[in-house]
């Protein structure tokens, strides 16, 4: 049964390599984009932390800044 699934009438090498290439491609792309996102979030966080309290106040008035800050703390996917 398992041998049958692996060999697939002799086409197994083609089928498994096509599916593997696709899934590895997905994983690599996901990781690359995730690393870029986390890098930018960390950069934002450190920049934000170095702001004066007055500038932090004015930045927090903007919804997007608040959303980015909220996502840095919860986005761990």
């Amino acid at each position: 049964m398992i041998n049958e699934i692996i060999s697939m009438n002799g086409y197994g090498i083609y089928i498994w390599s096509a599916f593997s290439f696709t899934l590895i491609g997905f994983a690599v792309l996901y990781l690359v984009i995730k690393v870029q996102l986390v890098k930018e979030q960390l950069k934002f966080n450190s920049k934000f932390a170095s702001l004066t309290s007055e500038k932090i106040k004015s930045a927090k008035k903007q919804e997007t800044y608040r959303e980015i800050l909220a996502n840095i703390s919860i986005s761990k996917i």
């Binding site: 083609y14 096509a18 491609g25 930018e40 934002f44």
Partner: protein, 235 residues
């Protein structure tokens, strides 16, 4: 209406959506893989090698769809002067390019047992390779040109020029005698694939579409945070 395309408004959705899309993608992909690899029948002519269709065809469809979307958004950049269109296009390109490469590689893997060769310079395959080159030029242009307006213009021109290649890809199998088979799934006429094969094909297409949405959302968020990082300097 164009106001709803403002990055600040979109970010409220794009920042929260990835985790839900990832969850949905994993579920749909698991169902799709089970159907494609184990439950769907083998072809009377191609035997089990037909299963490669379940990754090759959706990849080709999505890479073509994404490039067409990028090209139309690029037209929008010129017509409506909406810069968020170029941000959306830029965020769509990585997944489109990867799907294009997957379509080419899995096509080559499928070609070996079916045609006896990994590669042939036939119209469909060559035009897909040209599409990959357009994707590459588009992505590289964003990296090369540092001045934002210039990058916007150059990338939009590349995308609009690349749009000419899209109908060539679609109709290449009808216009020329090619090694590649004609389309089996048609929107306007009867599809020549059996339901037992079309269902896994559609499930895999849905999974791949969800993956491209996930990558788009993450890339879009990255680009927007990059802009906001610069904004912090100006506070």
């Amino acid at each position: 209406m164009l106001k709803s395309f403002e990055p600040n408004k979109i970010f409220l959705i794009t920042s929260r959506a990835p985790k839900y899309v990832l969850f949905l993608f994993i579920i749909v992909l698991s169902i799709g893989l089970t159907e494609a690899l184990f439950l769907s029948p083998e072809d009377y002519k191609q035997s089990h090698s037909v299963r490669i269709m379940y990754v090759h065809v959706p990849s080709a469809w999505i890479s073509l769809g994404i490039f067409s979307l990028i090209a139309f958004l690029s037209l929008g950049v010129f017509i409506f002067k909406n810069k968020n269109f170029s941000l959306i296009s830029k965020s769509l390109a990585p997944s489109g390019f990867v799907f294009n490469i997957i379509a080419l590689v899995t096509g080559a893997i499928w070609g070996k047992p079916t045609w006896g060769t990994w590669w042939a310079w036939d119209a469909r395959i060559t035009s897909m390779l040209i599409l990959a080159l357009f994707y590459l030029m588009y992505i590289l242009a964003w990296r090369i040109y540092e001045e934002k307006n210039q990058a916007n213009k150059i990338t939009s021109i590349i995308a609009i020029l690349g749009l000419i290649n899209v109908p060539i890809i679609k109709f290449s199998v009808d216009w020329w005698t090619t090694l590649h088979q004609p389309s089996s799934v048609k929107l306007l006429s009867e599809t020549s694939i059996h339901t037992s094969m079309i269902i896994p094909l559609l499930i895999m297409t849905a999974a791949f579409a969800l993956f491209s949405i996930l990558i788009f959302l993450m890339k879009y968020n990255t680009e927007l945070i990059k802009i906001k990082n610069k904004g912090l300097d100006r506070l």
